[in-house]
C-alpha cells in the first residue's frame, strides 16, 4: 500500500521536475559527497538473435557501401556455450555492485582537486582469487611455467614456481652486474656521469655546430648551381661536383669559380662534420674506467637500475625496479594459489559474443563475397574497471581503466554453411586473455577526446611534463595485454602474446578521410 503511494509520488515528482529542467550548477555538484547509485543486473540474459540488425556507414576504398549484418549479440552467464544455452548471469551483486557516482576530485590522487568527477565503475573485489588483476597475474605465471618447464599440470603452485624462477634469474643478473664493478655502483654511476660531461657532451656540441654549418654551405652551392652557365655546367658530373674542364670563351661560363668555391666549401663542411662525428663515436668505446668502456658501463648501469631501482638511493637491497615489482606480485600469486589449493573457486564470469556478416567486394576477382566473423568471449570478469570524467577549461577530460579477463576468446570465420567439423577446424582460440587498458592519469595526463562536425575525432594524452613525471612514473597504471596461448582448430599452437607495461609519455590520434 505504502509502496504504491510512494510510486505515485515518484512519478509526480518526476513530472514536476520535467518542467523545471536546468543543469545542476556547480554549487549543487559541489555538495555531492561521493554518494552514488549502485547497480546490479540479476539473472540477466540479453540476446539479439531473433532480431535482424544491420550496421550502416562503412564503405570500401571505392566509396561503395559495405553491408554489415550484426546477426547476433548476447550477454549471458558462463557456460552458455557461445550463447546457445540461455544461462543467466549476475553482473554486480549487493556486496559488489557496479556504481555510478560523483566523487570529489580530492579523493582521487591523480586528480587531487576540488572539482567533481563523474565515475562509472564496475564491481570491486579485494580477495586475490576474485580480483581480476591478481587472478590474471596468477594465470600468466601458470602459463609461463607450462611453457618454460613443460610441466602443465593444474597444480596452482606452478605459478609460484614460475614467478620465483623469474625473480631469482633477475636477482642473479643484478648480482652479476654488481659483482663486475666490485659492488661499487655509486662509483660506476659517478664515472659515467663524469665521462659523459667531460668527454661526450662537449664533442656532441662540436658535432652539432659542424652540422649547422652544412646547410648554409649547401644552399650557397645550390644558389650558384642554379646560375651556372651552360658551358660550365657541361664540365661537371652533376650537382655537387666541380666544373673542372676548360670553359672556352664562346661558352657561357658564368659563376664557374663561385660555384667551384661553393662545392669546395660544402665538401669541407661535410668533411669537418664527419671528422667531428668520427671523434665522438669512438669515445663511447675508448673512454674506460676499470677497463670497461663507457658504452658498456652505461648499458650495465641502465640494466641494473631497471632491475633494482636508482643506484643513488640505497646500499644493498633494491629500492624499486623490476625485482621489487615482481616480489609484490608474488604475494598475490601465492594468495591465489592458496585459494585454489584450498578448494575455493572463482565466481562465474560473463559470456559475451557477436556475429557479423559482411558483404565485401573482392577487387581481385571482381565479385562480392560474404565474410563471417564470430567473436565469443567466455568467462569474462571486469572488476576494477572504471571511467572517470571531469570538466576542465571547457574540455571534457577523462581517465579510463579497463581490466578484462576472459577464460577464452574465440574467433570463427566459417559461415552457417560449414559443418561442425569445419567450424571447429577454423576457430582461432586464445586462452587466458587479459587486457588491462589504462588511458589517462588525472591531471598529469588526462585523456582528452573531441570531435569535429566533419566527422573526425581527436584523442590525446598530452605530453608529460617534468613536474608531473615522478608521480606519473611511480603511480600511473600501465597498459598490458596477455594471451596465454593461441591455437587454431584445437591443435595448431601459435603460442602466447605479451605486451607488458605499456605507457605513453604522449599520444595523439587524429582521424582523417581516407
Amino acid at each position: 500500500m505504502k509502496q504504491i503511494l510512494l510510486l505515485c509520488c515518484l512519478s509526480v515528482v518526476f513530472f514536476q521536475s520535467y518542467a523545471d529542467l536546468k543543469p545542476l550548477d556547480d554549487a549543487q555538484l559541489g555538495a555531492a559527497t561521493g554518494e552514488g547509485l549502485g547497480l546490479v543486473l540479476d539473472d540477466f540474459v540479453f540476446n539479439v538473435d531473433d532480431a535482424v540488425t544491420t550496421l550502416t556507414g562503412i564503405e570500401n576504398s571505392q566509396g561503395e557501401d559495405v553491408v554489415v549484418k550484426w546477426t547476433d549479440f548476447y550477454i549471458m552467464g558462463e557456460g552458455s556455450n557461445k550463447g546457445s544455452n540461455e544461462t543467466p548471469v549476475d553482473i554486480g551483486t549487493f556486496a559488489h555492485p557496479w556504481t555510478i557516482s560523483a566523487i570529489p576530485g580530492s579523493d582521487i590522487s591523480s586528480v587531487n582537486d576540488s572539482l567533481a568527477v563523474f565515475q562509472v565503475a564496475a564491481e570491486n573485489y579485494t580477495d586475490p582469487l576474485n580480483n581480476t588483476e591478481d587472478y590474471a597475474g596468477w594465470a600468466y605465471f601458470q602459463e609461463q611455467h607450462c611453457r618454460t618447464s613443460g610441466v602443465c599440470s593444474s597444480d596452482p603452485n606452478n605459478a609460484v614456481s614460475a614467478i620465483d624462477a623469474q625473480i631469482s634469474s633477475m636477482t642473479l643478473e643484478r648480482d652479476a652486474i654488481s659483482g663486475k664493478y666490485g659492488n661499487n655502483l655509486t662509483g660506476l654511476n659517478n664515472s659515467i656521469t663524469s665521462d659523459i660531461n667531460n668527454q661526450i657532451k662537449p664533442q656532441q656540441t662540436v658535432v652539432a655546430n659542424e652540422q649547422d654549418d652544412i646547410e648554409p654551405a649547401y644552399n650557397t652551392m645550390d644558389y650558384y648551381w642554379d646560375r651556372l652557365g651552360s658551358g660550365a655546367r657541361n664540365d661537371t658530373d652533376g650537382f655537387g661536383t666541380k666544373s673542372d674542364g676548360i670553359c672556352a670563351f664562346w661558352e657561357d661560363c658564368a659563376y664557374k669559380s663561385e660555384y667551384n668555391n661553393a662545392v669546395d666549401n660544402y665538401n669541407a663542411q661535410v668533411s669537418q662534420f664527419n671528422d667531428a662525428q668520427r671523434e665522438l663515436a669512438p669515445r663511447w668505446n675508448e673512454v674506460k674506467w676499470n677497463n670497461v668502456s663507457l658504452k658498456e658501463r652505461l648499458t650495465d648501469l641502465e640494466q641494473y637500475e631497471s632491475l633494482c631501482g636508482d643506484v643513488g638511493s640505497t646500499g644493498g637491497g633494491c629500492s624499486d625496479g623490476a625485482i621489487v615489482i615482481r616480489q609484490a606480485q608474488r604475494s598475490k600469486v601465492v594468495d591465489v594459489a592458496l585459494g585454489i589449493g584450498s578448494g575455493l573457486t572463482r565466481r562465474g564470469g560473463i559470456d559475451i559474443g557477436s556475429k557479423f556478416e559482411f558483404d565485401v567486394y573482392d577487387s581481385t576477382t571482381g565479385t562480392t563475397r560474404t565474410d563471417y566473423l564470430d567473436i565469443d568471449l567466455s568467462g569474462v570478469t571486469l572488476d576494477g574497471s572504471y571511467i572517470r570524467l571531469w570538466g576542465s577549461n571547457g574540455d571534457l577530460d577523462g581517465e579510463i581503466n579497463l581490466k578484462l579477463f576472459a577464460d577464452s576468446l574465440s574467433i570463427a570465420t566459417c559461415g552457417p554453411a560449414c559443418s561442425a567439423a569445419q567450424v571447429q577446424a577454423s576457430t582461432l582460440t586464445g586462452t587466458n586473455v587479459f587486457l588491462n587498458l589504462a588511458l589517462g592519469y588525472g591531471k598529469a595526463q588526462p585523456l582528452k577526446f573531441s570531435v569535429t562536425p566533419d566527422g573526425q575525432f581527436e584523442a590525446e594524452l598530452p605530453k608529460l611534463t617534468y613536474s608531473n613525471h615522478q608521480d606519473f612514473y611511480q603511480n600511473a597504471p600501465k597498459t598490458s595485454v596477455f594471451i596465454g596461448n593461441v591455437n587454431l582448430g584445437g591443435n595448431n599452437d601459435l603460442g602466447g602474446l605479451t605486451i607488458d607495461g605499456m605507457q605513453f609519455n604522449y599520444l595523439k590520434v587524429n582521424s582523417h578521410d581516407l
Binding site: S11, F14, G34, F44, V45, F46, T54, D454
Partner: protein, 182 residues
C-alpha cells in the same frame, strides 16, 4: 548495444510516467485493499517513435532521410554537447521505429543482508525486465555535428558515423536493481 538497452529502459521509464500522470487522483484505502499482488507495478507497453511524422519534419520535402529516388520521412533527433553548447555535438539522428514489451515490473524491496551475510539494510528499486522486447523497424544514426539542431544554414555540418537498423525480437531477461551507495 548496451547504449540501446539503457535507451530502452530510459524510454520505458518515461512511458511509465505518462499513463500514471493521466490518472492522478488519490487512491482511497478501500481501493487499495482491492489491489492484490506483490506491491509493485506490472506494465505492458508499446512505444513508437515517429511512426507518423511529427511536427518537425512532416513530409519528405521538409527533410529527406532516404534518397532522391526513395524519399523517407525523418525520425527523432537527439543532440548532446559536452562543451556547453559550443560546436561539438554528439547526435542520435533519424531515431524511429517501435518497441513493444509485456511484463516490465517495477517494485521496491527491502534487502537486509547481502550475499556474503553482511548487513545491507537498504530499500532497493527492482525493475523486472520484460523477457522479450519486439523491435519494429527500429533505427538510429550516430553522428557528429556542429550544431544541436538540424538547420539549413550554410554553416551547418553533420557527419554520420554509423547507423543501426533492427527488426525482430530481443531477449531481455532478469532484474535491474538500483540502490544508493555511500
Amino acid at each position: 548495444m548496451i547504449y540501446n538497452v539503457l535507451t530502452m529502459i530510459g524510454l520505458a521509464l518515461i512511458t511509465l510516467s505518462l499513463p500514471l500522470n493521466a490518472e492522478m487522483k488519490p487512491l482511497t484505502d478501500s481501493a487499495l485493499d482491492n489491489i492484490s499482488g506483490q506491491g509493485g507495478v506490472y506494465l505492458t507497453g508499446e512505444f513508437t517513435i515517429n511512426k507518423n511524422p511529427g511536427p518537425l519534419w512532416a513530409t519528405t520535402g521538409d527533410r529527406n532521410c532516404g534518397s532522391a529516388s526513395d524519399p523517407k520521412v525523418c525520425g527523432l533527433r537527439f543532440a548532446v554537447s559536452v562543451d556547453g553548447g559550443g560546436s561539438e555535438w554528439y547526435v542520435l539522428d533519424d531515431v524511429s521505429g517501435g518497441m513493444a514489451f509485456e511484463g516490465l515490473t517495477l517494485r521496491t524491496e527491502f534487502v537486509a543482508q547481502d550475499e556474503e551475510g553482511n548487513d545491507f539494510n537498504k530499500e532497493v528499486l527492482k525493475v523486472g525486465l520484460p523477457g522479450k522486447v519486439k523491435m519494429t523497424d527500429y533505427k538510429f544514426t550516430f553522428a557528429f555535428s556542429n550544431q544541436g539542431a538540424w538547420s539549413d544554414d550554410a554553416g551547418f555540418r553533420q557527419t554520420d558515423i554509423f547507423g543501426i537498423q533492427q527488426d525482430g525480437d530481443i531477449t531481455l531477461k532478469g532484474n535491474l536493481i538500483m540502490f544508493p551507495t555511500e
